[in-house]
Assembly symmetry: C2
Homo-oligomer: 193 residues x 2
DNA sequence: GTCTATACATTGATAGAC
DNA sequence: GTCTATCAATGTATAGAC
């Protein structure tokens, strides 16, 4: 991994752990093993490097989610697999975390990837739910868009509960609750993969 | 309002807007109109003042929630009223926000009020749901504890979605989705206040 | 109780040698 | 491309006068 790459990966880790305000260029340099001048050679400054890091985290989140959404099984199976996928629960969501950072939200360039990620995620889930409803797997009374938002919110809020409690179980309980509520809307099992 | 009080209120606002790492003693002093020495006379330092501010925000959240929980109507009415209560959605949750702050979570004193708040909130909601189930208002298949966690998570995650989208509508959509899912578990309308 | 002065570390960046 | 100065501003306090 070259210097530029190490800088991006170190910035990603630190943004995840400490957010934008809590992450200094110096800390990024030390974690990556790069010197002062090296960082400023590859990037214009902290915002520029942060943009590279945020964009990559957003892409990664999307790719990992898509892997579950396009997997085998019925719509409810795939959504449940996504919710229950193994996660670093106590570390929180590397993208959702950034919504709490005023400096990220006030900079359109940094904010862009965050906004796009959640727009895509809720849209993709809404599409799956609509598919399940049309295929007869889900109750017709279920509102795909609203339900999709609620499911993404349970994930993001589950991280908050887990961090507050200091235990991943709080996340799992929230997901159990969401899956339990969703299950009441299942009309018939999926027709298999 | 005396100086000590103005310091606490200014710290509360800044912690809400910018988090612990993003809030400097200097900024608190300027917002409150107090001088350097004045702040260090009333508090031992930043963590001490932050503890006072966090404790008060936690108490306030609890009081406001309890006002809805002990209000009129059936269990589902009261929970829905709580979820749909008017909120400064784009500002986020003053307590939940702190879970993203590594310096808050690593200090047991600062973390305490945050952990207690969410433990109380999910417990209180679980109690209401259990009450609704025993009274015949809710389906017996509904798991009170898991559902309570999911509802609190929808709130916290709804804030994240709203901030990402830059609009309170994202929060409202998530709440609509949660209420829609919960409604499927209602067996009969509540017996009135 | 409040003020001003002082202090020392960190932040975010630039300059210029190599 | 990377390194070592250097820098002005900010962060988080302490000291001591009033």
């Amino acid at each position: 991994m070259d210097t530029r790459e190490r800088l991006i990966e170190s910035a990603r880790e630190l943004l995840w752990e400490r957010g934008y305000v809590g992450t200094s260029p110096k800390a990024i340099q030390q974690r990556s093993g790069a010197g002062q001048g090296s960082m400023y050679h590859h990037f214009h400054g902290k915002p520029d490097l942060a943009l590279a890091a945020i964009s990559r985290s957003a892409e990664e989140l999307r790719a990992r989610a898509e892997a579950q959404f396009s997997g085998p099984g019925g719509v409810v199976d795939r959504i449940t697999a996504y919710l229950r996928r193994e996660r670093d629960v106590l570390k929180g969501c590397p993208v959702g975390r950034l919504t709490q950072d005023p400096e990220v939200m006030s900079d359109p360039a940094l904010r862009g990837p965050v906004a796009e990620t959640f727009a895509w995620l809720t849209g993709r889930l809404a599409g799956l739910l609509a598919e399940g409803r049309e295929g007869g797997e889900l109750d017709t009374r279920l509102d795909p868009a609203a339900t999709a938002s609620a499911l993404v919110a349970v994930l993001q809020g589950g991280y908050v509960l887990a961090r507050a409690a200091g235990s991943p179980e709080a996340y799992e309980q929230a997901v159990d609750g969401a899956v339990g509520l969703l299950t009441a809307h299942v009309r018939r099992p999926a027709g298999g993969a």
